[in-house]
Symmetry: C2
Subunit: 273 residues, 2 copies
């Protein structure tokens, strides 16, 4: 049910309902990017937990059992792949920003080829970006579909030769990369930015935390001013596609690849989960 | 062209390209909500200018002449209506946030019934919301499709009986309503929040500015702390659907309907533009 009298898509009348999807109109949805290995979604339970948490925070009610059953089936069929699960609030049932509460969520599952190992450059170069992330505790941590900040940040990286760009929040805190979380090694301690004001709480970030604790490596989340990067000697990026990836160069300055980061990365890579 | 091997929508294989639209995935698009009266889009030139400005800022290239030709035609056919024009960057041509630069924008034009005059309550009650707006100069002013902040704000208004909620930025500045800009009358001066950090630069906000100047009413944009609302005696909301609408009650406190706001509203309503 849409309240529009008539809808045109690229000049042609369209009777489909998707043009009224609230993710299209407002980015009103959530997504998960997942790595499939040996026919299984890696860290499926963590992805499912994050999606459920996001639905809870945004008041999107979905049939999670059905979603994960289908995703698991697609994973088995493909063996190795990258899956993107997009869960929208569904078509607008009234005009305007307010959800009516009776929308029917839409599930879009896209299958991509598994990322080739050759994709990564031999030297991981990272720069800090001038683009910032707006602070809003109501949305912080969620992998929602309002991603223009990341779109502009990735666009500004193009041509720089850098693999990733680090972003600060509007008040000058280091938050994350454009597509990754970030860990700094400092006097034997692993630290990662708090995500209470903005940023995405990555599934691999959770895994790094858990595995570090199991290995006895002290790890904590804290407020890190962007300027702390100036005297950072060891840095790694994390996401489910890359794993825990050590950075070789930050703003043209050579970094060390910390031993504990390397051990942690190897351990995470071999997890059968 | 999509790089996905396979796409499922609600469990069914889908060969259409729209599930790859970047507005659906990232809110990567812009929109205009327009009032049609007597077969014409009110303030069409201002809507067109804002859309072009947004496209410029987000590097979305579109055939604007074709867009406005179609919109004008639909307006003539319907006579009185509300139009929503959604311009997306188009389908993703590669996975990930970065635009490839070769996307083909998609134009979605939805026609809604003209808002009935009876829609407005006799008393306009407004409250301040605890929901905030993240600050990001790269996106400030644009009517882009990252609108989860407004979605959550409208949701939090439900059941309050208030017509509109006023929002502050993360650093405590008054910015706007959830669906309107805001003007305060102060010692004969009309002030509206600066939108250099967040907020949407409304078409009617531009009209109010211009018409106030023509009427000799001093008007300016400035940084307004949220706390300034405590001693505000006269307030109005603006958007193209509502016009310039005086507020009767703010957080339970009675306001005056300022004479210059009333004159300005009447003048704007009769503009043949």
């Amino acid at each position: 049910m849409s309240t529009a009298l008539q809808v045109f898509v690229d000049g042609q009348t369209c009777d489909d309902s998707w043009p009224q999807d609230r993710a299209l109109q407002y980015g009103d949805g959530l997504f998960e990017t997942m790595l499939v290995r040996n026919g299984r979604i890696r860290f499926e339970a963590l992805h499912a937990a994050r999606l459920a948490h996001g639905c809870n925070r945004l008041a999107i009610s979905a049939d999670h059992a059905a979603i994960w059953q289908q995703a698991g089936q697609v994973a088995r069929q493909h063996g190795a792949a990258l899956l993107k699960l997009l869960l929208t609030r569904g078509d607008a049932t009234a005009r305007g920003y307010a959800p009516s509460g009776v929308e029917r969520p839409r599930v879009i599952l896209s299958v991509y080829a598994a990322p080739p190992a050759a994709e990564l450059p031999a030297q991981i170069r990272v720069v800090t970006l001038r683009n910032c992330l707006g602070e809003n505790p109501d949305l912080a941590g969620l992998k929602h579909c309002n991603r223009l900040e990341q779109v502009l940040a990735r666009a500004s990286l193009q041509g720089s030769g850098a693999f990733e760009g680090l972003m600060q929040s509007s008040s000058g805190r280091l938050i994350s990369g454009t597509m990754s979380n970030v860990f700094l090694e400092r006097d034997g301690l692993l630290v990662t930015p708090e995500l209470d004001l903005c940023g995405i709480a990555g599934v691999l970030r959770t895994v790094v935390f858990r595995e570090a604790q199991q290995m006895g490596i002290p790890v904590q989340a804290e407020n890190i001013p962007l300027a702390a990067l100036d005297h950072c000697t060891s840095l790694a990026l994390s996401n489910v596609r890359l794993g825990l990836l050590s950075v070789h160069e930050l703003n043209g300055r050579r970094l060390q690849v910390g031993a504990s980061l390397r051990e942690l990365a190897a351990r995470i890579d071999t997890l059968e989960e």
